[in-house]
Symmetry: C2
Subunit: 146 residues, 2 copies
DNA sequence: GGCCGAGATGCAATTCGGTTGCGCCGGCCT
DNA sequence: AGGCCGGCGCAACCGAATTGCATCTCGGCC
């Protein structure tokens, strides 16, 4: 997709560092998966993560799922539900972990985080409803598919 | 879920009218599915639709899927991707079919349309990107689950 | 450096939402 | 009333995600 073949190896040290900093157990699959997310500017499906890893380190499909969930629970990544009924995962690059918008291409499915789009900080809800997270997704066509 | 057991029978005439008005073929499953959506103030999963229909008219699972997709393509309903990897469907009550926000309860999965929340009409995208639809979803706890 | 235990990994089987192929049936046009 | 186009039901299928369990390994401890 887009990039020729992400050099996630370059992001391995950063990935390791983040896992260490979180005080969590450092394993090869964990570092590799996080590095893959860091290396990509688009949010990846479990399958894309698996493929991206295949060349350097074979990781079981189930492990990829588990590591991704684990990254999300740690706050190191976030999960985006897609139109195609699969989840995509993106690395949380800043610790602030601020709410941000996403763009999904209707044709190629590519999903990227939008930096410049403001997510409404407050919304009016029915009585008794408690907001927790606001998700803003834009559907359309990306530059390559237009 | 919320309502005691939606009286979608009361919405059957309206459902039939809408299908007729669209110039489409009127069948029992189509009217029943649309009535079920109209009767509910929350967006329904295919399964909830099926259950809601079971008491009055047994409709095959596949038919429910097909009718729901058909309603979406006709603009009579809209489809919302959920956190639980299933789709929910809500009737489009006004013809204007304006973009609107949704609220999803993290605990019970109940999804409702928010009337009072403004969806940003314009967002700034990377060069070459073409927006088509903006989706705004709020996660949190509903009044019943709080 | 070697040992040990909690917990991570891999494999296989399973679940489940959604889709597809196809023959029959039923709305709707004439 | 007749006929045909297309919707319906049935069954088989697909692929994303999950679970159970045996094995392996990271990282603390001696």
């Amino acid at each position: 997709m887009g990039k020729p073949r992400a050099r996630h190896a370059a992001h391995l040290p950063a990935a390791r560092e983040r896992i260490r900093a979180a005080g969590e157990r450092l394993t090869a699959p964990r570092a590799a998966v996080l590095a893959a997310l860091l290396a990509s500017d688009a949010a990846l499906t479990h399958h894309e993560v698996e493929d991206s890893l295949a060349t350097s380190l074979a990781v079981d499909r189930v492990t990829v799922y588990r590591v991704l969930d684990w990254l999300v629970s740690l706050g190191l990544a976030h999960r985006i539900p897609g139109e195609d009924r699969t989840w995509r995962f993106g690395a949380n690059r800043d610790d602030s972990h601020a709410p941000h918008a996403h763009f999904t291409c209707s044709r190629c499915g590519r999903t990227v985080c939008l930096e410049g789009v403001a997510v409404p900080p407050r919304v009016s809800l029915p009585r008794g409803y408690l907001p927790r997270r606001v998700e803003l997704t834009v559907q359309g066509l990306c530059a390559a598919c237009r």
